[in-house]
């Protein structure tokens, strides 16, 4: 389970960002987790809840938005969201190979919420 080390990476970025909001409190983080990013939302949430209490971001909430896969067919260019992430037949020409992933591989911190009443 690499979700622990992913949470550590998230914390590193948050520390960098929070320098800009000196004296304010982080209340919420919104993360985008692509279906193909290989990160299990529940495990990430679990790792967050295990690592956050008692630390500098105590009480901050983690919201994870799962981003579905969107690909462009390698044969005909049709853009579609496949039913499965393993086998992705194109709905137009049935091609299985060579699709370009447009969305669904990302693992991004999208936004944060800070509170200036402290």
């Amino acid at each position: 389970m690499h979700e622990m080390s992913i949470v550590e990476s998230i914390l590193g970025i948050l520390r960098e960002e929070m320098v800009k909001y000196d004296g304010q409190k982080l209340t919420k983080v919104t993360l985008k987790n692509g279906q193909l990013a290989g990160v299990v939302t529940e495990s990430l949430q679990f790792a967050w809840e295990a690592l956050i209490p008692g630390g500098e971001f105590d009480g901050a909430e983690l919201e994870i938005i799962e981003v579905p896969v969107k690909v462009a067919c390698g044969e005909c260019g049709e853009v579609f969201s496949p039913d499965h992430t393993r086998c992705m037949p194109c709905p137009k020409c049935e091609a299985l190979l060579g699709h370009t992933v447009l969305e669904g591989k990302e693992l991004l911190i999208d936004s944060i919420e800070v509170d200036d009443q402290q």
Binding site: M1, G38, C87, L107, I109, S111, I112, V114, D115
Partner: protein
């Protein structure tokens, strides 16, 4: 007052930055770096032992070893005469660029031709983290299921080579080489599939030819 701020930062950016730095370093020094991944027991160490021994006169090679409970693997590798450094992942399921960077300090990279990074035995997590490699190589043994590529698609999607190891055991196991190859090619049409036996040495020439070619391309 609470306010929302848009950031949009890639969570793995720190690792990616270090991976880029490693890659530059390898480019300048003309070192071919391979990230070797497999499930536990697929035979990575045996593959390395034979490769390091057979190509000893041709290339200067080193191994960064992340697959550990003990240092047995590093000792087996070091016995071939190649430099070997072991990383303690402290139970971690994969190597990352920072660990490789630290391990490199213990390796003499002057005149080094090929660096193998033997990742932690695991078909999921190592696929997510670049370690500055030129290519990812996945080793699958015929004692595992031929449906592995289908079960762990990402690993095979991003690997340049799939080595199918332990072909000397094919008569005794229910493993369909063609099926495994077809699955892997469905995920990655460019993947090179090489059935080998690192134990008996069968078909190792194909693997060595690939290494020679990729090494030459770095010059």
């Amino acid at each position: 007052m609470s306010k929302e701020v848009t950031i949009v930062r890639n969570v793995l950016e720190a690792n990616d930055r270090l991976a880029d730095e490693l890659q530059n370093n390898f480019r300048v020094k003309k070192i071919l770096c391979l990230n070797l991944m497999s499930s536990p027991g697929a035979g990575k160490t045996t593959l390395l032992e034979r490769t390091l021994t057979d190509l000893k006169d041709e290339f200067k090679m080193a191994v960064i070893e992340g697959d550990l409970q003990t240092d047995n693997d590093a000792q087996r590798v070091a016995a071939t005469g190649a430099q070997a450094v072991q990383i303690n992942t402290e139970g971690g399921c994969h190597l990352d660029s920072g660990m490789v960077m630290d391990a490199l300090k213990a390796i003499d990279t002057d005149g080094l031709d090929i660096l193998f990074v033997e990742n932690v035995g695991n078909l999921v997590c190592p696929a997510e983290f670049n370690v500055g490699e030129d290519y990812k190589v996945t080793l699958l043994s015929v004692t595992e299921g031929d449906d592995k590529p289908e079960k762990y698609p990402f690993m095979f999607h991003i690997s340049a080579v799939m080595l199918l190891n332990k072909t000397d055991l094919l008569p005794y196991v229910d493993f369909d080489l063609n099926k495994a190859e077809a699955h892997a090619k469905k995920l990655n049409k460019d993947i090179q599939v090489m059935p080998i036996s690192a134990r008996t040495g069968e078909n190792m020439e194909q693997w060595y030819a690939w290494l020679r070619k990729k090494r030459a391309e770095k010059l």
